[in-house]
Symmetry: C2
Subunit: 216 residues, 2 copies
DNA sequence: CGACGATCTTGACACTCGTCAAGACTTTGT
DNA sequence: ACAAAGTCTTGACGAGTGTCAAGATCGTCG
């Protein structure tokens, strides 16, 4: 017996800093195994033993690094967020015309639908799970706000390049594009993945112009 | 011990017809209790015992009328669908101008968001649960198609009244409006319900005109 | 090298779940 | 009114869960 799970104590300096770093590294490693499992099985059907099975460790280790399942999930969710919110920043920075941005954005949407479907499924699963599990709400609201801001940056840039202005406010614009993406993800999962990618690229490219209006 | 759960035998005529009707009535009653529970707790957290607790019966009865949990869920899902797919038909039939339809549709969206939030939460929960549970897929795909057709009828009528044509195809149009609704449902559940209703009505009214285009 | 602390494994606990069976109760048919 | 069929309750089973604690193992430092 030794260190408590999720020791919050500042720890006695010296080698403790490196020690804390090692613990964080292990936590990240477990979070990756957890995300892999969550992406495959979904939130409700993922058990700690299943997560451990996808890692090099036994199920006790999970409880050694995380005080509870809720804490593990919260850690995973924030770990996941860090990667996805900057997904389109390069497109915003690199595009020099509205048409270029429109095509690049639609293509990138289809690409991430193809390459990261399990993570997207997990995200929508977590968001609806938050309807029923208050523990998840804080993290979900935070991520959703991050995604909305990400979309808004794209639309503002798109409007700028087109010498136009966004037609709708940020939440509405995000809701429209999120609807297109979730619809495509559903088709990709329950139907034809290849067709879903093509349809998403086409529908996003088609809808994008309606999200901005020419100057008054 | 007696009748098998979910007896599929044609049954010996005479009084069997009425008997089957009684069983169907009980099944419907259990389905209503189940839907109430599912709407409150969500799919993953709803147990047969919890469903029975919300009914006048004990947990054994559920297994008496349904061979398995999957069968109960499937029955519930179709029972639920019968009610929701015709929700906007009156609006389509009664509106005589595009503006009237637009306002009535936006108002009805906000109304059902307010009055039937648990059922809507359940629907989105089931749809994402289907990502991970193949048993649910058939029913989910069927309901989703029904909802898409429902929306398409509205948009076609709206376009007719406005002497215009739908801007996008049926799946895209449905995805856009579904995105608006899910976004509002999330705000209603995780944030401010009253604000969510107002925002949904406003955003739907604002987006609707972009879903049709003037004649060529 | 020996000891100590950190890390990991193993096994157990209390609980919930879907499923099922035995029997009690109710309704129906004759 | 009696018997048969239908209906419902009760209690149990095995499997799976999160949680936790005791001990084995490893690395590191005096």
């Amino acid at each position: 017996m030794a260190a408590p799970a999720r020791a919050l104590a500042p720890s006695p300096e010296s080698s403790a800093r490196a020690l804390g770093a090692k613990q964080d590294a292990r936590r990240d490693q477990l979070a990756e195994s957890a995300l892999e499992t969550l992406g495959e099985l979904g939130y409700a059907r993922t058990s700690l033993r299943e997560i451990a099975a996808k890692s090099p460790f036994s199920h006790g280790v999970v409880h050694y690094y995380f005080a509870s399942k809720s804490e593990l999930i919260a850690y995973c969710v924030r770990y996941y967020k860090a990667r996805c919110v900057t997904r389109y920043d390069a497109i915003v920075a690199d595009s020099s015309t509205a048409e270029e941005l429109r095509a690049a954005f639609a293509a990138k949407l289809a690409e991430t639908l193809r390459d990261e479907a399990p993570m997207h499924r997990l995200w929508y699963d977590l968001r609806t799970a938050a309807y029923f599990e208050p523990d998840l709400r804080e993290a979900v609201v935070e991520i959703d706000a991050g995604l909305e801001a990400m979309i808004w940056r794209i639309i503002e840039r798109y409007a700028d390049l087109a010498r136009a202005r966004p037609s709708f406010d940020s939440p509405t614009t995000y809701a429209v594009l999120d609807g297109l993406f979730e619809s495509a993800l559903t088709q990709a999962t329950l139907g034809d993945p290849a067709a879903a990618g093509q349809r998403l690229e086409a529908s996003a490219a088609a809808v994008l112009p309606t999200l901005i209006s020419l100057h008054p």
